[in-house]
């Protein structure tokens, strides 16, 4: 979007520059034409002035000739000769001025013929008077009565002058139209530039507004992002705290359970009576240290062995040994305790000693999964036999 706006603004500035250059070129061309027109006007005025001078000098020469004819004075002769020289000079100047203009040159050529003829006539009269007296030129002057030749020259000069004035008028009109066209060109250029500048300003304003909106949107997005980062950080900190708390709780739980377990073992191991933990099949799964002390058998020797390996029922009569398993099985299956059942303890060497045995079923959520047996030895020293 920004690139597009910049391209448009550049195009507009290029157009403005093109308009300015075009107006400048038109102005320079107009100035050149004005200068050329001015030269031409000066030249035309020069032609008119020379035409006027030619006519004036011609009439002056004609008057001086008539005076000389009457007076025969050398001063009048001189004045006439000078006037005729001026006429010839005026004619040459007029020819030179109109040489580059074919139409005028043709007119001046006709005028020149008439003037040269008149000058020749005047010189012939002047020469005749000087050599013969007034009577000698009377007939010649009589042939020129009425001044028809002079009038013809004067009309030709008037026509030349009128034509030049008509050209001046046409030139003035052309100059006026040219000035008007230049005025329109300049104003059109100015208006066009103003419009282009306005369009450029509008585009720049639009672009600035778009940039401002974009900046605001970016700022808003940044604010949102910062807020999200803050929220996320807070969430992470909270989660971290929760995890730390959970971790600490777990460590505490493990520690407490280990402590509790150790303490329970300590209690069982501290009992002086022999403690056997049995499976439901009456096999030994655990014993306390008192068992090893009384029987000489380690826990490793006894775990997995049937209880009958170390404890048997006391004989009902001398020499008779009743099975111990039956009352234990019956009590276990019935889920009841046995208290102070007479029995004998058998040590590692097969020696026996009297004891009393108690059994408590081991319940796990109301389900009998085994039994705990405690055996209390009756005699302080082991009996011999086996």
């Amino acid at each position: 979007m920004k690139e597009k706006a910049i391209r448009r603004i550049l195009v507009i500035f290029l157009l403005i520059s093109a308009v300015v250059v075009a107006v400048a070129i038109a102005a320079v061309r107009n100035i050149n034409q004005a200068i050329a027109g001015s030269d031409w006007v000066n030249h035309t005025h020069s032609v008119i002035l020379e035409a006027d001078a030619l006519r004036s000098d011609l009439f002056l020469a004609d008057g001086a000739l008539h005076t000389f004819v009457l007076t025969g004075d050398a001063r009048d002769h001189g004045a006439c000769s000078e006037a005729l020289s001026n006429v010839e000079e005026d004619l040459e100047i007029t020819r030179a001025l109109t040489r580059s203009e074919p139409a005028q040159a043709a007119q001046v050529a006709d005028i020149g013929s008439l003037v040269e003829a008149r000058v020749a006539f005047l010189r012939s009269v002047l020469s005749a008077r000087q050599s013969g007296g007034a009577d000698s030129v009377r007939a010649t002057l009589a042939s020129d009565a009425g001044g028809a030749a002079l009038h013809k020259i004067q009309r030709a000069l008037e026509k030349l002058k009128d034509d030049e004035l008509a050209l001046l008028t046409a030139r003035d009109t052309a100059s006026y139209l040219q000035a008007q066209a230049m005025r329109y060109t300049v104003w059109t250029g100015v208006v066009l530039d103003v419009l282009l500048l306005a369009a450029s300003g509008w585009l720049i304003r639009d672009d600035i507004a778009a940039r401002r909106r974009l900046a605001e949107a970016l700022e808003e997005a940044n604010r949102g992002l910062t807020e999200k980062v803050r929220e996320r950080t807070a969430e992470l900190e909270s989660s971290n705290k929760e995890l730390s708390a959970e971790n600490l709780e777990r460590q505490w739980s493990n520690q407490a359970l280990e402590h509790q377990l150790r303490y329970n073992h300590l209690i069982i191991d501290s009992i002086n009576d022999l403690v056997f933990v049995l499976t439901k099949a009456l096999n030994i799964s655990r014993v306390n240290p008192a068992v090893a002390q009384a029987t000489g058998m380690s826990a490793s020797d006894l775990v997995g062995q049937p209880l009958s390996r170390v404890a048997r029922a006391a004989p009902r009569a001398p020499g008779e040994a009743a099975p111990l398993a039956d009352p234990l099985f019956q009590a276990l299956n019935a889920g009841r305790d046995l208290r102070d059942l007479p029995s004998v303890l058998v040590d590692k060497l097969g020696r026996t000693q009297p004891a009393v045995l108690s059994m408590t079923p081991l319940r796990d959520r109301d389900k009998v999964v085994g039994a705990v047996i405690t055996v209390r030895v009756q005699a302080p020293s082991p009996a011999s036999g086996g």
């Binding site: 730390s244 600490l248 709780e249 505490w252 739980s253 407490a256 359970l257 402590h259 509790q260 303490y263």
Partner: protein, 121 residues
């Protein structure tokens, strides 16, 4: 100012974990491994609450509590022990000697909630 808790237990792991948990809750904790250390703390910086184990290496926890109670009769005491007492024993015996009995298998949150309740925060 944060409340001061005196923690008496002969097991370093217990002292360390419980101290971290209570400090995390904003309490100032002093840990003592023996009766002598506990007495010294009570003299120098009387606690707002006492947590004590029952079976210590050098002395009976309840005996220590009784001694400390003579100095700080109004300070609540929690007995935190691995010995499992029957509810009736707790009701009829322990409740006269301590403010609260907690098993060591109690969760940390339960312990801190109990502390908060006893300190009436």
């Amino acid at each position: 100012m944060s409340k001061h808790v005196l923690l008496i237990d002969d097991e370093a792991n217990i002292r360390e974990l419980l101290a971290i948990a209570l400090q995390g809750k904003g309490y100032r904790v002093t840990a003592a491994a023996s009766a002598d250390e506990a007495q010294m703390t009570v003299r120098k910086d009387p606690p707002d609450l006492i947590i004590s184990d029952l079976q210590l290496e050098d002395e009976d926890g309840l005996a220590i509590i009784a001694q400390l109670k003579t100095t700080l009769p109004n300070v609540p005491v929690i007995l935190l022990t691995g010995v499992l007492f029957d509810p009736q024993v707790v009701r009829e015996n322990l409740s006269k000697k301590v403010s609260c009995y907690l098993e060591k298998t109690s969760s940390l949150s339960k312990i801190t909630d109990t502390i908060k309740r006893l300190l009436e925060e």
